[in-house]
């Protein structure tokens, strides 16, 4: 934990902001309207220290989680979290007139998978591009669960003692939504990430 500095976090915020821009572009193309996504901050904490507040899991409702496992120079599980209510609103906004709200139920999971997939892939690919490595990833999978269950799942794997949290703001038309993108990292993966960031920063300063 000591070896990640404010500078590194700033670099990560930059990298993910580029990814967010890419995701917004893809989403705009689908929605046919302007979509804006920003990543105001990135945080890295010990997995055991996460609590509902650090992930904005403070309300009683259920949460939609899109997850993908990826591997490369570092392996991680990436999980995108929205409240279920927000998730439904995003999807229905995105579907616009293409499908009625009643038809949504059946396709909501698949559409959420796609939305998560676009954001996750954009963040992963911008990281891969800028830090110059390649990543492989599984297909996305969507689950709906309570905050408790999600926290339990995040803390489950002792080999992933670090968690990187990206706070994400998503604006489709007039609706603003906040979510969190969480990366579960092993100690080695975090070290490797830091090495790549240092190399990247070193290259800039040369």
């Amino acid at each position: 934990m000591n070896h990640i500095s404010e500078l590194h976090l700033d670099a990560l915020t930059e990298i993910f902001s580029i990814g967010a821009g890419r995701a917004a572009l893809s989403l705009s193309e689908i929605v046919g309207d302007e979509v804006r996504i920003s990543v105001p901050s990135v945080q890295i904490i010990n997995t055991e220290d996460i609590n509902p507040a650090s992930l904005s899991l403070t309300c009683d409702g259920r949460f939609g989680a899109v997850s993908q496992r990826f591997s490369g120079p570092f392996t991680a599980e990436a999980v995108l979290l929205f409240t279920e209510e927000q998730a439904l609103k995003i999807v229905s906004d995105m579907m616009d007139s293409k499908m009625s709200y009643e038809e949504l139920a059946e396709f909501e999971h698949e559409a959420m998978c796609e939305l998560g997939n676009i954001i996750l892939n954009a963040c992963l690919s911008s990281m891969a591009d800028i830090l110059k490595f390649t990543l492989e990833s599984s297909l996305p999978c969507y689950t709906v669960a309570s905050a408790d269950k999600i926290l339990k799942r995040l803390k489950k794997n002792p080999n992933q003692p670090y968690i990187m949290i990206l706070h994400i703001d998503l604006a489709i038309e007039k609706r603003h939504t906040a979510g969190n993108l969480v990366f579960l990292l092993s100690t080695d993966s975090l070290s490797n990430l830091v090495i790549h960031i240092k190399q990247f920063l070193g290259n800039i300063h040369e």
Partner: protein
Amino acid sequence: MSEIGIKHFDMNDIFNTLSLGLIAVDSNGKVLLWNDWVAKHSNVKEADALNQKLEQAFSEAVSPAFLTALNNTLIYRLPVVLSTALHRTPLPLYNASETNQQQTRMYQSITITPIRSQLNEPCGLIQVTDSSTSIKREKMLRSHSEILKKEATTDCLTDICNRRFFDAHYELAVADAKRQKHCLSIFMVDIDFFKAYNDYYGHIAGDNVIRQVAEALKSQLSRATDIVARYGGEEFALVMPYLSQKVAEQFAEKLRSAVSNLAIPHIKSAPFHQITISIGVCTGIPENGDNLLDRADSALYRAKQKGRNQFISIPLCETEEYLKQ
């Protein structure tokens, strides 16, 4: 695929037997694999598609969002999903079964995954599944449930509301009137000498009378807030909010004359010689413990006693005194 599997099957046979679409493209987007399913639903033969750029292989345009997704997979080597909800029909694929009808574009769910060829070249594999059937199934289930819902609350003989619906609606209407302190009128309606009619004319004619009376009562309603239900054999009940007692009485007379105007002969109905109804109506703002339905029923009993083919109207309060008059 295991060694055993590869030894036993020609992979092409397997690809072509699959009931999903498989397309593989190289890193430039040129088609390397085009299975029978895709050929059948796109109407483009494998031979014509191979080595073409994917967007040119189809006879019509491919959606820009699909091309962006494919490009992203080829560049970043990350898997992509395209959902039915957000894309519907990204590829020009058709449901081929209905030969005479105009072909409709198939709803699709698509995944694009990075794979490598045997020569280790980066490629992309596109899998397409037909989601038309699940959309159809969903629509069918919904329309079935609408029909069942209607059936569960409709009287099958008269097509007006049934007792089950009445009971639920009555409870809601009373609660609403209590809360908002507005008037509610309950009408209890009974066909006069109906047993005698049934005995003399038979059950089929009896059913017809019930149907005609139900229709006559229903035709008097014009507000969305009002309902008429078949309460029992030859008994009907109406729930109508916001009427003063005077207006409720005028309405009861309208109901009586509507049935009278049907002029259905009934020789066993001594004074009238035609089908008539008696009506009990109770109007008032319900408070705790008040039972409009019981009161309306007492009024109906009174109308029968006083000679039938008439209505008796009572306010919800002072009921006892009124009945003793």
